[in-house]
């Protein structure tokens, strides 16, 4: 089986599993307990926190563990709204994850003003647009660092600076970025950041939220005073330990893995660009989050492509409406200007350190095979059914 769906989730690194096992077996205690077993669990949590804090350039007490990036995003946005009740305006972008978009919607229902910044045809948020949208009422600007579908990396440093001009807090969803691109909260000047364990070969069900003394969000759940009294509930010790180890490995191997992924994705891009009527979605490969590639294979539908590839032992994902739960096409793809018919044929390939050059060759070959098979039977006649005529080049002009 070839797994090219690593922006969805990743396999556990064997060393991460190794690090977790003792905490699933003998070292099972509750870190809040005062006996030796409890203390042992507590120091394991502390150590994982220190490792992650070091990796992102913050103090351990500025980082709390959550159940994942979804919770962290909810926490950052709702918690900031509650912490700054006099301000009633939130700014996000159209290329955010559902856990940001839908929290924004909830605030809107509560009477908040929400501005969604548009993006250009490669997915970039513009600084000017942010500057225009900001005002004295803005409590938070939340912009994703690396997008999960098209791999576009936002200039969070500049965006955070602009947000601060009006004393708005700046949050970034770094669920995809952590461990794949250098990320340092101090360099970037962000006030809040969300992270995730399972996108970098750590376990599922664990994430973290960075905040600082100035930007302490209000807690959303009530309970015992775990996690600096911000997030109650007995800590998920094995997952925290695994998360810590995963971040440590990712940071340590960052350069090596990045080089490996660039080589693989460049070859994959080249191979797929040779399939006629194929479009690249998002920025050119050298600007993207390492490992991510998204293309539209015109005149055919994504779920069918995905299932034929799956039948050939290849796992990818699609932006097609038919493969989404709500039956609507990916808003990330439509917001960079894809027509619905183009979003339907979008396939995301996302690679990890465990993928190989041989796998890339096989994926190129099998994709070609599936495209040929489906185009041979398509009812889509470009001249008749498409409003976008003319030559279609793989790269989109910005």
């Amino acid at each position: 089986m070839i797994y090219f769906d690593n922006n969805d989730t990743t396999p556990l690194h064997p060393d991460v599993l190794e690090a977790m096992l003792p905490y699933l077996k003998d070292k099972f205690a509750n870190p809040s307990s005062l006996h030796n077993l409890g203390l042992e669990a507590e120091s394991a949590v502390d150590e994982a926190r220190s490792r992650i804090a070091e990796a992102i350039g913050c103090k351990p007490k500025e980082l709390i563990f959550t159940s994942g990036a979804t919770e962290s995003n909810n926490f950052a946005i709702l918690g900031s709204a509650r912490a700054r009740p006099s301000r009633k305006h939130l700014i996000i972008s159209v290329v955010e994850h559902a856990s940001v978009l839908n929290v924004a919607k909830r605030l809107e229902d509560e009477g908040y003003r929400v501005t969604k910044l548009l993006v250009d045809n490669q997915g970039y948020v513009s600084s000017d647009a942010l500057r225009k949208a900001l005002d004295e009422d803005t409590f938070l600007v939340s912009i994703v660092h690396a997008n999960h579908e098209i791999g576009v990396i936002q200039d969070v440093k500049s965006l955070a600076e602009i947000a601060h001009e009006k004393d708005a807090w700046f949050h970034t969803d770094a669920a995809q970025a952590l461990g794949k691109i250098p990320f340092n909260v101090e360099d970037f000047g962000v006030d809040l950041a969300s992270f995730n364990g399972h996108k970098l070969h750590g376990p599922k069900g664990i994430g973290a939220l960075y905040f600082n003394r100035k930007t302490r969000p209000k807690r959303l759940m009530e309970g015992a005073p775990q996690e600096f009294d911000l997030r109650p509930g007995t800590e998920n010790v094995p997952a925290i330990v695994g998360f810590g180890r995963a971040v440590e490995i990712a940071v340590q191997d960052l350069n090596e893995v990045t080089t490996h992924l660039k080589l693989l994705v460049n070859r994959l891009t080249e191979g797929l660009s040779e399939i006629p009527d194929t479009l690249l979605n998002g920025p050119p490969p050298d600007e993207r989050m390492p490992g991510n590639l998204n293309v539209t294979l015109l005149y055919i539908e994504g779920e069918a492509i995905l299932m034929h590839l799956s039948n050939r032992g290849i796992c990818v994902s699609s932006g097609s409406a038919c493969s989404s739960k709500s039956l609507t096409p990916s808003t990330v793809l439509t917001s960079i200007g894809l027509l619905h018919e183009e979003a339907h044929g979008a396939i995301r390939y996302s690679l990890s350190r465990f993928n190989t050059a041989e796998e890339v060759e096989e994926v190129i070959e099998k994709t070609g095979e599936v495209v040929e098979l489906l185009r041979a039977m398509t009812a889509f006649v470009p001249e008749k059914h498409s409003e976008r005529q003319g030559g279609k080049s793989f790269y989109r002009q910005r």
Partner: protein, 229 residues
């Protein structure tokens, strides 16, 4: 959410039957559109005396269940008379495929609609049917909405009694529909509205379609305020 298909669906998706087009077809119809990501074209050979479908082929732009339902439709249609096909329901198709996930049920509606539309055109051409003059009225809107399914339940808006009100201003071609929408269906509001727009706009004379959702907190068990049979 992973979509679970029956083995039959997978079988027809992987190895669809009767793919392609008949060059000198007697009947042809395309339904759906690339924007919906759901489109089928059938070509048929029909005996003008016995009205039996002698051959049928399809082309598809769509997902796995779109391909599988079209494939199954061709198998069922072959050898049947046009009357038999006209009596077919989309449920007959899904039954032959050992069911479809509720969220994919609309594919079987498209597969049947397209087939019936090809048959109807042929019957009109051959004097077996007349092209009724369709005017924009409540009955037609009602009929159009009977083909729109709620992706959560797989039931049509009419079956599930979700249509609360229909108002028509014939001169301006304006259609207003109020639909009951429970919390659980909120996820599908956009998809449902898109389908409603498409189906109502297909009625000649319908120029402006306004859909309004009325929130309710039950699961679509309400009856309509007015009966439109």
């Amino acid at each position: 959410m992973a979509i679970k298909y029956s083995e039959k669906v997978i079988e027809h998706f992987i190895k669809p039957q009767n793919v392609g087009e008949i060059p000198d077809a007697d009947a042809i119809a395309t339904e759906g559109s690339p924007a919906c990501g759901d489109m089928i074209t059938y070509t048929l050979k029909i005996d003008p005396d016995t009205r039996v479908v002698e051959d049928i082929k399809f082309r598809s732009f769509g997902c796995a269940s779109n391909i599988a339902t079209a494939s199954m439709a061709t198998l069922i249609a072959k050898g049947k008379t046009t009357d038999e096909i006209k009596a077919m329901k989309h449920r007959d198709l899904t039954k032959s495929l050992d069911g479809l996930p509720a969220v994919k049920m609309h594919c079987s509606v498209l597969a049947i609609e397209a087939l019936k539309s090809a048959i109807h055109k042929w019957e009109v051409d051959h004097g077996y049917a007349v092209d009724e003059i369709i005017k924009l009225d409540k009955k037609e809107v009602w009929k159009a909405l009977a083909d729109v399914l709620n992706p959560r339940t797989g039931l049509s808006l009419i079956e599930a009694k979700l249509v609360n009100k229909i108002e028509i201003e014939q001169d301006e071609g304006r259609v207003f529909v109020e639909l009951l929408l429970c919390d659980m269906d909120e996820l599908y509001a956009e998809a449902i509205e898109e389908e409603m727009q498409e189906h109502i706009h297909a009625i000649p004379g319908a120029r402006k379609v306004l859909v309004q959702f009325k929130r309710c907190h039950h699961s679509g068990m309400h009856g309509p305020e007015e009966h439109l049979v």
